[in-house]
């Protein structure tokens, strides 16, 4: 893939993350503020809240999307920094391979956990 494509994806994932991760952090960490609106939001880390979110198709889909966008955005950013700091083509190539391997492995683990949990609870 051309570098400009990667860059376009980096910006697209940034916009997606601004919305999804913003929502995620508000739900997880501004729970005291959200509880003023609806007390059901007050314990986001409780096991029952986890099951409620895992049952929801919206949360499951948004988790997979968020995972993919965050991993791409983060690892592309890391690759950019390493590429900028080193001039060597060999290091750049190694970085690309390492970043793709780590990103895909982490996506596999995370997506498996999200989807398996959804299937287990929703059935």
């Amino acid at each position: 893939m051309r570098e400009s494509r990667y860059w376009g994806l980096h910006m697209t994932s940034a916009v997606a993350l601004f919305v999804l991760l913003g929502l995620h952090l508000v739900i997880m960490h501004l729970d005291g503020t959200l509880a003023l609106i609806d007390p059901a939001w007050s314990k986001p880390l409780a096991w029952d809240s986890v099951l409620t979110r895992a049952r929801s198709a919206f949360f499951t889909a948004s988790y997979v999307l968020m995972l993919a966008a965050a991993l791409f955005h983060g690892f592309y950013g890391l690759r950019t920094m390493i590429t900028e700091l080193t001039g060597s083509a060999a290091v750049r190539r190694a970085t690309s391979i390492a970043v793709w391997t780590a990103g895909l492995a982490l996506f596999g683990l995370g997506a498996y956990a999200i989807v398996a949990m959804h299937l287990r609870v929703g059935a």
């Binding site: 910006m11 940034a14 916009v15 993350l17 601004f18 991760l21 913003g22 952090l25 960490h29 501004l30 729970d31 005291g32 503020t33 880390l45 096991w47 986890v50 895992a54 995972l67 965050a70 991993l71 983060g74 690892f75 950013g77 890391l78 920094m81 700091l85 001039g87 982490l106 683990l109 995370g110 498996y112 956990a113 398996a116 949990m117």
Partner: protein
Amino acid sequence: MQRVLLHPGPQQERQGTKIQSLFFLATLAFQSHIYFFTAFRETITFNTSPPRRYPNRLGLLGWLGKGRHGLERYLYTLHRLTGLALLGFLVFHIFVTSSRLLGRQVWEPLMALTHHPVFQAVEFLIFAAFAFHALNGVRLLLVELGGAAGKPEEPVYPYKSSIHKQRPLMIAMMVLAGVFIVLAGFDFFLPGH
């Protein structure tokens, strides 16, 4: 209105009384030897060495903002540092939250562990890093896509640099990030949450 002069400012400044222009001419006459010797010296010490090359690859030192830069340059460094922190946290976060597959008896002690004050402080820093990174990212996107730097225009005195045009956006974004960080501070550290 027809614009005749490209630089009307300095021209207007030079308009003064007759006495002022006489004084100017007198100063010129008294100091002319300085101009003469300066010009003479420059002709004999003409620089024949090749132009000095400045490295465009500053490496990690460049992150410290080597050179004369605006505030935005330091936000660039902070954007990278917070990005690295967020990526590190993301990797850790994927492993921790995947443990839900092992069931309630693993999840609940793990979540109890995250209520430790040290972990809460780290999580707050991650929240702050996200708030900064996200809102600075909005600014970067707007500037990158050409929306925030203003349209190119004729350089009419007094000049307006693009930095002055985008600075209000930077201030607004940083204030907004500050609001979210303070709000999260209440949720993290006030008792009862």
